[in-house]
């Protein structure tokens, strides 16, 4: 197999005409207006997704909850929530159909502890998804997280303030969520950036 084939298969190389056919393992976001714009039609598995937000409480968790809820009922592994800014409210999460028994909350004091916990959790094989609130992360740490995510083949989400938009990132998918529920795809595998996707992110689940 040539290197070109290998790269194409991994989704690192794509031809403009066939970008949607590139195979990238992913899980659906549960948001029909977002899926078509993401490679693999969903949040990538085995890669870091970076979600940049203008301010807290603009829908960053509601963006992820449909996918997280589906994952939580799949197996008995942990869903790691690292450094959430406030106390997660379990009854509300249950309303989103999330199995709260799967959620493991952890608090890391510094970037080193955070990276270590994330890396070890992913490598242990006991983690189905990881959700991390963080600020500055240096490139080496970020790279380690990305490698661990690739090995573990689980989705890893980093929630960061939008002031890091200009900073280069190794995340496979980067999106910027605005407070008015508009989303820009800043970087994706097998595709160009795609700004301005309107989403509807209800405050509580509609069912």
């Amino acid at each position: 197999m040539t290197m070109l084939d290998t790269l194409t298969e991994q989704g690192r190389l794509w031809s403009a005409r066939h970008w949607q056919e590139t195979r990238i393992p992913a899980i659906t976001t549960g948001l029909p207006e977002l899926d078509p714009h993401l490679p693999g039609h969903g949040w990538p598995l085995g890669a870091v997704t970076e979600i940049l937000i203008d301010q807290r409480a603009s829908g960053e968790l509601r963006l992820l909850l449909p996918a997280l809820a589906r994952l939580s009922t799949q197996d008995a592994r942990w869903q790691l929530w690292l450094n959430p800014p406030l106390h997660p409210c379990a009854p509300a999460l249950q309303q989103w159909q999330l199995d709260t028994e799967r959620v493991l909350l952890a608090r890391a004091k510094n970037a080193n502890d955070l990276c270590y916990s994330l890396e070890k959790s992913l490598n242990s094989g006991g983690c189905q998804a990881a959700l991390t609130w963080c600020e500055a992360l240096d490139k080496a740490l970020m790279r380690r997280i990305q490698l661990a995510a690739e090995r573990a083949r689980v989705p890893v989400f980093l929630l960061r303030p939008a002031r890091f938009v200009q900073q280069p990132s190794v995340a496979a998918l980067r999106v910027h969520l605005h407070a008015d529920s508009r989303l820009d795809v800043l970087k994706r595998r097998a595709g160009w950036p795609r700004p301005d996707i309107s989403l509807s992110l209800p405050l509580t689940p509609e069912h």
Binding site: L86, C89, A90, L105, Y116, S124, A179, L203
Partner: protein, 463 residues
């Protein structure tokens, strides 16, 4: 019957330096005497020999590490070795001071022949940190003499064994020293010479003990006293140097964990907790407890956890001795595995939890708990990650709550919906009556409430 004898010629020396990985010549001295009892290869390369005067040895060596002969630690080491070999013998017996006797005959079926059995024992001992020589024999004494002489026979053929025995000198027969000297003075130098002498005459001249000893060499199958697994596991390693960094303890601990692994596997148990005692130079001691959520018998699992603990640890004073004790044994259960049977989600999840607890500490790793209560702050809570209390109480509330409701000025907020009255707690000490509203401020969504007295509070955020 077939016996396998393991002889550890430097047992006392290597037991004394078990925690030491410096490439230095090591000498073992007998307290109160002037000769070198045992020495390692570095010392031998420099020309030091066992039995040499210690002053001569010091002249030959630029630098060396010294230890005194300690029969207690030698015995302890022999026991640990017996633990490690436990799975390689139906019967095992300690042969103090420095040998182990394994009944090999009945194990050959399990291992598929003598050669694989021999190889397996060899690989098993490779990482024990001890030098050894081993030999098969038709009787325990035969196996012992051959192993001590360094003749490593891997055979079941009696004729070959007897031939090998014939090459031994009288000094190698482990006889009483005075008898040995007398025999040598009489010109009897080798085993065949001794064997040829009439037994009756020998008995008359040297006593019945010698005759019995010679008889048992070729015809004896009396099983010696059997080694039984102790009910608890404990091992101490004295460091010959002072460990100043916590990571430096990993090496001696690794050795002990290997023995623990054999011990646990022999007893078919899992261990849930390790207790580690560090003795410091100034006489103080620190204790460390290392729990594992699911329990484990594998060295690699414990090593990964210990690595995490030690990485964060600062020693209050240099360490001179390490003791490892195992606590809370549990019988092994079958792990539940996934559909294909090639992964063990529950075991992996437990391992992940152990690692996080080790790194971040118990208060920083929690799980969510739910209670049936109308008050949001009571309905949701945090519990210890190893507990399980599953209740369902879904509510249309925001996904994140403030630890305490925060008094606010309502003017910059725009009310979107509400009110939702939450009234409860009249049955305990914290009665609550609040009207909750969903509000918006700068396009972010909040959950606010008004108390009866008109004061507004921010309680949650729709993340």
């Amino acid at each position: 019957m077939l016996w396998l004898y393991l002889h550890f010629p430097r047992l006392a020396l290597e037991a004394g330096f078990l925690g030491d990985q410096r490439p230095l010549p090591q000498l073992l001295l007998q307290p109160g005497q002037h000769t070198v009892l045992q020495c390692n290869d570095y010392a031998r390369d420099a020309g030091v020999r066992e039995g040499m005067n210690k002053k001569t040895a010091f002249c030959l060596l630029a630098d060396c590490a010294l230890a005194e002969y300690d029969p207690h630690s030698e015995q302890q080491a022999l026991q640990q070795l017996a633990l490690q070999c436990y799975r390689h013998a139906a019967q095992i017996s300690l042969q103090p001071p420095s040998g182990l006797l394994l009944e090999a005959g009945s194990m050959l079926g399990v291992f598929g022949g003598l050669q694989p059995y021999w190889e397996s024992t060899r690989t098993h001992l490779q990482y024990s940190g001890f030098t050894w020589s081993m030999s098969c024999g038709a009787t325990p004494a035969m196996a012992r003499l051959l192993a001590q002489a360094g003749i490593e026979l891997c055979t079941q053929n009696r004729t070959i064994m007897l031939q090998a025995l014939d090459t031994l000198t009288v000094e190698q027969l482990d006889l009483d020293k005075t008898i040995q000297t007398k025999l040598m003075a009489m010109g009897i130098q080798t085993y065949p010479q001794l064997k040829a002498l009439p037994r009756q005459e020998l008995g008359f001249r040297f006593g019945a003990a010698l005759v019995t000893q010679l008889d048992r060499l070729e015809q004896d199958n009396q099983p010696p006293e059997q080694f039984v697994l102790p009910p608890r596991f404990q091992q101490t390693i004295h460091l010959n140097y002072e460990a100043e960094h916590a990571r430096g303890l990993l090496f001696p601990l690794k050795r002990m964990l290997l023995t623990l692994e054999s011990y646990l596997q022999s007893r078919q148990l899992l261990c849930e907790k390790l207790l580690i005692k560090l003795e410091h130079r100034d006489g103080r001691a620190s204790l460390m407890t290392v729990p594992s959520v699911q329990g484990s018998d594998r060295q690699s699992d414990w090593l990964a956890l210990l690595d995490t603990y030690l990485e964060q640890m600062t020693l209050i004073d240099p360490v001179t001795a390490v003791t490892l004790r195992a606590k809370d044994f549990r019988t092994r259960q079958h792990d539940s595995h996934d559909f294909l049977g090639d992964r063990f989600p529950q075991a992996d999840a437990n391992r992940m939890l152990s690692l996080l607890l080790a790194r971040l500490g118990e208060p920083n790793v929690r799980k969510l708990s739910v209670q049936h209560d109308p008050r949001p702050e009571v309905a949701t809570g945090l519990i210890d990650a190893q507990q399980s209390r599953h209740t369902l109480n879904p509510k249309h509330w925001p996904s994140m709550l403030w630890p305490q409701p925060k008094p606010i000025d309502i003017r910059p907020y725009r009310i979107l919906s509400g009110p939702e009255r939450i009234d409860g707690g009249w049955w305990d000490a914290a009665p609550t009556r609040r009207d909750y509203y969903v509000a918006e401020r700068a396009q972010a969504s909040f959950w606010v409430f008004r108390r009866d007295d008109g004061q507004w509070f921010l309680h949650g955020e729709f993340l």
